[in-house]
Symmetry: C2
Subunit: 437 residues, 2 copies
């Protein structure tokens, strides 16, 4: 696969010892980006790169002026408070910076002493949302999720006729996107029981998470232009974990005809780390559409997209209740899935989004939609796992759930594995439900 280069070499070792420990999310083959600062400091946030249990401070690296050309230029952009400038530079710059950081972190690097001075332990830092997210669009790319949820909201009509033709998406709210560690009060709103004559107002009773990936756009397009499917991946800076919290009872009452609104916009949580598209090259997969299914319209079709447009990003969701914390018990795993099940690829999402001339700006984010796998146990939401609240889920410690309770912390992880390559990880995204105000 031509997208593989020397930064993916499984034999690379770093002089940062923790990066060479089996099972780390952040070996030298990963090198994801975040915006961070020392915990409880008044410093400005700045870009950083994860290596083992450390963060490379890009501000220190940029000021040391050890890189050259595109890599130095990109490091200076990456030193800013938000990553938008770096994202806007485009693939050549991201790739140059990645290679320079990879080389500088390898055993025997001439730049080891400078990089050592730029390291901060991940335990000692705090993160912000890594860029200004101008616009956020949520897609709906898991046909298993769309079918299961559709069955609950529209028993007679679960999968609508457009699903297999249109990468369905809708606009979300960017103001309420927070970084891992976010907590928020249980939302309140209108709900209506099927047999009630009028709605009532109160705290959400069917609070849920959604297991998603967030996809950050890099350099965008001018209003009126389209990003072709051939060019689409080149505009994608990278991927994060994303929890699209959802109030199912609000959603059921409000969502017709214009889509979910207050059911979704009270909070959404991203992981701090953005794994670059380049880092994900070894974990790509063929994308295929069964012959008996509708094949994509031409603007959504390319040979590369068929050969390598999918990404085998594995994801899991865990729940840590108040009782688990009090009892010092580990969080309970709820499900596990992979983005390789997605009915549409990232390239198809990007091209579809711009085919009408809609413009992307650096830092815009796409949600993948809930990534439920083909099996019931692989569902990416409680709505699906509890079959619309009809079945009780028993956690490892005996607690039961249909939907989220106050105090519940939801933890999502993501990672990639492939024969002949190192495992890389996404870190985690965590968020906690507080009681309604």
């Amino acid at each position: 696969m031509s997208l593989i280069n020397e930064t993916h070499d499984v034999n690379l070792k770093s002089w940062v010892a923790s990066a060479n420990v089996a099972g780390t999310d952040f070996p030298i083959q990963n090198l994801p980006f975040a915006a961070f600062r020392r915990k409880n400091s008044a410093d400005a946030f700045r870009g950083g790169v994860a290596i083992g249990d450390q963060v490379v401070d890009l501000k220190v690296v940029a000021e040391a002026n050890i890189f050259s050309g595109d890599a130095q230029h990109a490091a200076e952009a990456g030193a800013e408070e938000k990553l938008n400038t770096l994202m806007g530079l485009g693939n050549a710059y991201w790739s140059a910076l990645r290679l320079a950081v990879s080389k500088a972190l390898r055993e025997g690097s001439e730049h080891q002493s400078v990089l050592e001075s730029a390291l901060v332990a991940q335990d000692d830092v705090e993160y912000s949302v890594p860029c200004h997210i101008g616009d956020y669009t949520d897609f709906y790319t898991s046909i298993y999720h769309a079918t299961a949820v559709g069955r609950l909201f529209r028993p007679d009509n679960p999968l609508l006729p457009n699903y297999k033709w249109v990468p369905i998406g809708y606009h979300g709210r960017s103001s309420s996107i927070g970084v891992s560690g976010q907590s928020f009060p249980r939302p309140k709103g209108q709900t209506k029981a099927p047999d009630a004559t009028a709605p009532s107002f109160g705290p959400c009773k069917r609070l849920d998470y959604e297991l998603e990936l967030g996809i950050y756009l890099g350099n965008g397009n001018a209003l009126g232009d389209t990003i072709s499917i051939e060019d689409a991946e080149g505009h994608v800076f990278g991927f994060c974990l994303f929890n699209d919290w959802s109030a199912r009872d609000l959603q059921a009452w409000e969502y017709q005809p214009l889509g979910p609104f207050l059911a979704k916009n009270f909070a959404s949580t991203v992981s701090p780390w953005i794994v670059t598209t380049e880092a994900l090259a070894p974990y790509r997969a063929q994308w295929h559409r069964d012959a008996e299914e509708p094949q994509p319209l031409e603007y959504l079709e390319s040979a590369h997209n068929r050969e390598a447009g999918a990404f085998d990003i594995q994801m899991s969701v865990l729940l840590e209740s108040e009782k688990m914390r009090a009892d010092n018990q580990p969080a309970a795993k709820l499900s596990e899935s992979s983005f390789r099940h997605s009915y549409w690829t990232v390239a198809q999402m990007v091209t579809h989004h711009t085919v009408n001339g809609c413009n992307f700006q650096p830092g815009d984010m796409l949600g993948s939609g809930t990534q439920s796998g083909p099996e019931h146990e692989e569902a990416g939401s409680l709505l699906e796992l509890s079959r619309g609240g009809k079945e009780t889920i028993t956690l490892a410690n005996g607690e039961e759930r249909k939907f989220l309770e106050d105090g519940d912390k939801v933890i999502m992880n993501g990672w990639c594995e492939a024969e002949g390559y190192n495992r890389i990880g996404f870190g985690s995204v965590e968020g906690t439900v507080l009681p309604a105000k």
Copy 2:
């Protein structure tokens, strides 16, 4: 009405003669805000206030330091490239600045010479989108529009059961919002004829406008907090005209189940001028809900909202075709309506939007939804006027339309009139359809 103050006095005259001409949009009782600069200059945009056919440059005024206290502070914020800082200051500051500008522009003002040096002719300026619009939400507040459009999309089920309880809204795209004068290529996308087995791809054939108001938030709320209906209007900086361009054939195929997406996000156009909530005080109206209709839930109900929550903002839409331009003919009026017909008030929109804890930021914008009046002739879109493309509309010059043609310029105007007060206007919002790329 206690919201009336000395700035609304019909007897006020300005030393700017054009502000005293009957029928001007911008008498001294209006004083709307925009971001502007001299046409074709490389200057930074800055805030300005309209008076007659002139703009008061707030940068010049702020630097002259002739105001004091809150008014001076607000003028300095208003001098910035975007109005977000001013918007974030809150009502006390907006009001102080309004009063100071009103006094400075009155006949006999001691500040006349300074203000004269700050005047630029509107003919000599260009405008930008007046603030950074972090998030944009479109509501659906005209029950006449919702019913007429619902009938076309769902003949058996035009007005959904939630409509009379929930101020229906959905998230829009902010990146593609442009200022009056915007032109954009006809969008392309997927459409499917009812009898076709598969969709096809091509330029939109049912391109439409929507006659709306844009409502700009001022100071916002923290994530997790709610803005009560009593406090809601105090967070609203002002109103503009808004054209929510719509591709009806794309919309029909894509909108279920998550709402309109590519049908709306290729372009949306705002007027440059923001008429402040304070300026609109004389044109408020009672809001009422017929006794046999569902009454709002308590969180959407207040005495003030009943007494004065509606705004009688009159709006019209005109079409100028290429032929009209070539023949030097005036634009043809398509319809006229008023925001007083809105089923929900601005205060109800603001409170509903935050009742789940969703946060507003200064400069966020709400669309009112298409403001169609009770009569067919008062419809705010071609979709309604042509009854879903079934009827042909004949323009004044004999041209016919069902939907927009390439080269069509759509012009929307807005104004307010009330017994005992001066007429004030919104200027206009204009936008032109270019051929598909």
